[in-house]
Amino acid sequence: MTRSDIIVRTIARLMVPFLLLFGAYILLHGHLGAGGGFQAGIIFTSALILAAIGRSRIEFRSQPAGSKLWILGVSGAVLFGVTGFLGIVSGGFYLQYSLLPLPFPVETIHAIMITIVEIGIGIAVSGMICLVFLTITGRGE
């Protein structure tokens, strides 16, 4: 391990919590400012990639966790789809949220459902991009 290695790894490790916080802000604040599920998923992924750089690279390659990441990605997409079916269950159309039996005004229900959908998108995107990254780094030495 050379000296520049120490610098790179320390900086990468220091950046990770701030990037995760920024990703959560982008995800949950997407209805008020710039951002949304796609951007937040990408930012989460870059935080995880930096965490991987911060650790020893060999250690990261031998990690079998990558093969389980598809569960995360699929669950995000399923969360979106199932949220759409709630509209049918409540007597409306697919992806129609206005008839949901929640004790809020209609626009609040819409805002809540939009946030849930954004969270689903974020989970799906970050899971799948992480899977791509792990697949490329993990094999074919």
Binding site: H31, G36, A77, G127
Partner: protein, 183 residues
């Protein structure tokens, strides 16, 4: 003043694109494309579209560069020298012809941000007027993505899902082959 900044940014984009094409070092090329994406993000932000700017900065300058660098690390860094350095006339003529058509078509486009543009008349103005009351969401881009155009977004998530399934298929096939080698 802002036109000067925009002009410098656009010229820098063209210079960077030409440089990325010319250089033989693929790592340098990936870095130049990363800078290119950052400049695009600045242009988008200056055009009052922070959502697109954020996406461009995160995807174009961040993840894409990482994937390029990984691909270069797996293959080779320097592009092979080719003897044929001459510019081919046929493709150049086609490119110039299509560019001329696009330049002529650009003259017929509506003015930037015009409220009379077709995109604004059909649906854009409606979203701007009623999105906040109907959805309770201040950011109209999010309202369109997750409410008005929910089906489109579901399709995009399905595409991401399909990417994942493709990768899983490749992953599992590779693992089976490795298992065969061990036997």
């Amino acid at each position: 003043m802002i036109w000067l900044v925009n002009g410098v940014l656009l010229i820098a984009l063209i210079v960077l694109a030409a440089w990325a094409l010319k250089t033989r070092d693929l790592l340098v090329s990936a870095m130049i494309l990363s800078v290119y994406s950052f400049l695009m993000a600045i242009i988008y932000a200056q055009l009052n579209s922070p959502d697109v700017a954020l996406t461009e900065a995160a995807v174009g300058a961040g993840i894409t560069t990482v994937l390029f660098i990984l691909a270069i690390q797996k293959t080779s860094r320097m592009e092979e020298d080719s003897d044929d350095e001459t510019i081919q006339k046929g493709p150049l003529a086609i490119v110039l012809f299509i560019g001329l058509i696009l330049a002529l078509a650009a003259g017929g486009m509506p003015a930037f941000g015009s409220p009379d543009a077709p995109a604004a008349i059909v649906s854009g103005n409606l979203y701007l007027e009623e999105a906040k009351e109907v959805t309770g969401v201040v950011n109209i881009v999010t309202a369109i993505i997750a409410y008005y155009r929910s089906f489109d977004t579901l399709g995009e998530v399905t595409v991401v899902f399909a990417v994942g399934i493709g990768i899983i298929a490749l992953f599992l096939r590779g693992r089976e082959e490795e298992g065969d080698d061990e036997k």
